[in-house]
Amino acid sequence: MTIDGTWYLTLAAVLFSIGAVGLLVRRNVLVMFMCVELMLNAANLTFVTFSRELNDIGGQVAVFFVLVVAAAEVVVGLGIIVAIFRRRPEATADDANVLKG
């Protein structure tokens, strides 16, 4: 018998909350981005757990697509961050407050 799914869901909830608090507290754009990745992974863990509990491959397919979209998101996001930092080397998340750079 394996671990009950509730424990995986609890762990995912804890990871998601830590990521959310980090996103609210930190001011370094890169670290905020890492916190987003943390929240995405907590959601992935939930998907896989429900996939096992409901005996359905769909949850694992969803995780597969989340991985691909996360890769694309990271590339575009880091491109934006590099573009911002090239103009203003000392910028934090609070300094980027106008749409026109």
Partner: protein, 204 residues
């Protein structure tokens, strides 16, 4: 708590506890470390712990992809950008943008945790069974996932490829310098910039 854990065998229990501790420690490391490089390395610990949990839940293909894509590509890309922008800039983690920001953030975090825990442990999942293929058929995990992706989810899969092409083009457009016009841009671009762009697209 004891009743829930009593059904598990000892190896399963040990794997889960160790992986969970690695995950939570890494997550705290991401949020609390001042140096972005340390945050990225803590993120690797968390992602690896989640890969272990995927194996424990019989999702072997996703565990492998998790290690290859996340720790092999995404975190390396993070580290690359940190190095590109300079690592010596440190941030005061305790600097509030407005008065009491940390209390508000902590309160919101507690609220989110309570809500997700309630949803996760309240047994509110519908219990609808196997609409896209049962997991318990006696074929390997990779076979099953492949069949599902190339039959039921074929259209989303094709759209994903278009998304990746768009992301690659966007990365190239965003990473080039905007100070010069496109014509001069090709002429007097410094070799460092060109390498950076190639790296960025390559590690994708």
């Amino acid at each position: 708590m004891g009743a829930l854990l009593a059904t598990a065998t000892l190896p399963d229990l040990a794997t889960f506890v160790v992986a969970a501790v690695i995950c939570v420690t890494g997550a705290f490391g991401v949020v609390l470390s001042r140096n972005p490089v340390h945050a990225a390395l803590s993120l690797v610990a968390t992602l690896f712990g989640i890969a272990v949990l995927f194996v424990e839940e019989n999702a072997q293909f996703l565990a492998a992809v998790q290690v290859i894509v996340y720790t092999g590509a995404i975190v390396v890309l993070f580290l690359f950008v940190i190095m590109l922008l300079g690592v010596d800039r440190r941030e005061r983690v305790i600097a509030d943008q407005f008065h009491g920001q940390h209390y508000v953030a902590g309160g919101l975090g507690a609220l989110i945790l309570a809500e997700v825990l309630l949803l996760g442990t309240g047994h509110w999942s519908t219990g609808a069974r196997a609409t896209s293929g049962a997991l318990s058929r006696p074929i390997p995990n990779v076979d099953q996932l492949g069949r599902s992706i190339f039959t039921t989810y074929l259209l989303p899969f094709e759209i994903t490829s278009a998304l990746l092409v768009v992301a690659v083009i966007a990365a190239v457009v965003l990473a080039r310098s905007h100070e010069t016009s496109p014509l001069e841009d090709t002429k007097d671009k410094s070799p460092g910039d060109a390498t950076a762009e190639r790296e960025e697209v390559g590690s994708k």
